[in-house]
Symmetry: C2
Subunit: 398 residues, 2 copies
């Protein structure tokens, strides 16, 4: 009655580990500010539900394994606004970015192959790789460098004959770093010189602050056949529950191979694809408004966090997360303590311990904060965090 | 610029192979009767769209990785009507039965492990296993035995120290066999004696004809912790495009392990889960009516096919497929010929070559027919098949 080694080797979701503590806190009528999750509170454009509500289909049918044609066509138009030119046979619709990444990795790597990923990284990268026997080779980025990439040499030192690809999210979850043109070009050069693919998770590409330049790997023509963009409508349109993502690449042979995996699950859901096709027509002022909201939240949060003594912090350039270093030994213990042993005016905060975003034994004194709640709530939550941290460090003597 | 061995070893969808011929036929204005696909033409219960149209949610949010609570609760109630008693922590919602099967196999088997499957089987079983490095060990069932299972000895001869489970669909796609109580009990005994799991794909369980008794593996209490039911709403409610399935097992530890995989893809789509929760409340007369429709179709098709000389045929007991043996050497060549080189009054039929439903080198002279179209169309399609077969055998001299 054994289970597979592959499943036993996988960790339980680190997010889930804290959930029972949050539930216990709430059952004691504590208010919990959720700084731990990436579920935006912005409204999904009404186009989505309006279109679905207008449908008169009598049968909820299978769609094409590649994805709904209209949805793909609208993706093509949408990318044109970014200066990216893709054709129908260069895009596959997936069940969120998660499935897109899983299928891409399955098509590129065998058991024992390696993928280089700058850490800290989105924690599910590790689980997805582990589930299919691919080894993550982390390359550490540091808060002191504002989480920008280490040197070309450092990357090259990580490459072995098992290395298949470099995977990164840009802007980054969890750090909020937006890679510079030089960084993108260095990665591209490494990919070309060492025969690697680049998997670029750009699901946060619409969240770039301070008019910072965003450079997509999709623009780097000399390595176009080595680049796979992983995309999703979840964050862009605040439609996480629609589970609509895409795999985008100029490598048509790769698309043909990944299609085999798409066919095994027949298709993505019909309704969500129809709604998603509408989402891609959302007027640009939606982004302007939501970007403005997130920028204000980032600024408010950053300013509040700056008031907390002895923490290390760097201003995020994109996405809606920040990683901060705390004056504690074990940030997970602190996160549990906040939920279980602490409250201020019967309120507390929930954070994500950042060690789960590393593959190396690092990040023990770091946490990730998501700023997807209201500005006033962010201020209150930061103040509670400040008070909690003072009390914790006093109690624990660290 | 290589791809993984795992993806290169996978076959392109055998269904897809004939699609260009069907498209070419249609572009010549030939009418093509689709006897090749399992997309039912019955209306999805209106409850599904009505509920979704009534929603007033402003944000399309992530749901729980285990699945929407109400949907799980309604599954529990639904199974009670079948005499099956499951709890919340014994059910996971999946993106169709396909994902349910993939996750179950990933949790049970490592690369090189073996799964015994009676053949002919649903062709994607092979692809799903192949994608994760699990080897299919087929055990052949024959049209002459009405596709019932071979002896206990035959099964035991297939078991090695790599065997993890026996997987079967009941009623079977593609054969329409419904396994007897004795067959189910024999499999259960083998599972117990040889420490195996039983993965029972029961997505067609509501399509049982002639008041034949259906026995679910979920009823076999002595091996309850070894049984995993794979279920789906696709066929039952004619809602294939909703992609809502489930993994159901009394083995709570297995659920806990599979949940790790569910968490990696965050959740199933929100809307489809809400609609699916309603589907499970569909009044029983929907099944009575749709079962009646399919039974009539089966009878009409069976009677028409009986009129074709030199074919071997057995009456399906369930599901909505039939496998028939043709007096040809290469049924795939015949299927292509029907689309490319033949028409009768400018009409032709599309069939599925059955060799793709085997893992052994068998089924070359067999095809699968799905009876998911109208009775009159089935009669016409059968008559066209008869004429086509006469002409083909005359031309090819077989």
């Amino acid at each position: 009655m054994n289970f597979s080694k592959r499943i036993l080797n996988m960790n339980e979701s680190p997010i889930r580990k804290l959930t029972p503590y949050a539930e216990a806190a709430k059952s004691q009528n504590k208010k919990v500010y959720h700084l731990n999750i990436g579920q935006p509170d912005i409204e999904t454009p009404h186009l989505f539900m309006n279109k679905i509500k207008s449908l008169e289909d009598k049968i909820i049918k299978y769609t094409s394994s590649t994805g709904n044609d209209e949805l793909i066509d609208n993706f093509i138009e949408f990318y044109k606004d970014y200066g990216l030119d893709y054709k129908r046979d260069e895009i596959l619709i997936t069940n969120g970015a998660s499935e897109g990444l899983l299928f891409t990795l399955m098509a590129l790597g065998d058991v024992g192959d390696e993928i280089i990923i700058p850490e800290p990284f989105y924690t599910n990268y590790k689980g997805i790789c582990s589930s299919i026997g691919i080894n993550v080779v982390p390359i550490t980025t540091k808060i002191e460098d504002a989480f920008h990439l280490p040197s070309k040499e450092d990357f090259i030192n990580k490459i072995t004959d098992k290395t298949k690809a470099i995977l990164l999210s840009n802007p980054s979850n969890p750090t909020g770093v937006v890679y510079t043109k030089e960084e993108i070009e260095t990665i591209a050069t490494i990919a070309k010189e060492h025969n690697l693919y680049v998997i670029s998770d750009e699901v946060y590409r619409d969240f770039i602050y301070d008019d910072k330049e965003f450079n997509s790997f999709g623009e780097i023509n000399p390595i176009a056949d080595r680049v796979i963009l992983i995309d999703s409508l979840s964050k862009r349109f605040s439609a996480c529950g629609a589970r609509i993502g895409s795999i985008v690449t100029k490598n048509k042979l790769l698309i043909k191979e990944i299609l085999k995996l798409c066919q095994l699950r027949l298709c993505c859901p019909m309704l969500e694809q129809i709604g998603a096709a509408e989402l891609l027509k959302t007027p640009k002022d939606y982004f302007i408004s939501s970007l403005d909201t997130y920028k204000k939240r980032r600024d408010v949060l950053y300013n509040e966090l700056k008031k907390i003594p002895n923490i290390t912090i760097t201003k995020p350039e994109g996405a809606f997360y920040i990683v901060i270093k705390l004056p504690v030994k074990d940030a997970e213990d602190f996160c549990i303590w906040l939920l279980r042993d602490f409250s201020f005016n019967n309120e507390t905060v929930m954070l994500s311990p950042a060690k789960n975003f590393y593959c190396s034994d690092l990040g023990h004194n770091e946490v990730r904060i998501a700023y997807v709640i209201d500005e006033n709530e962010l201020i209150k939550a930061s103040q509670i965090l400040k008070i909690g941290l003072e009390k914790y460090t006093l109690e624990k003597g660290c």
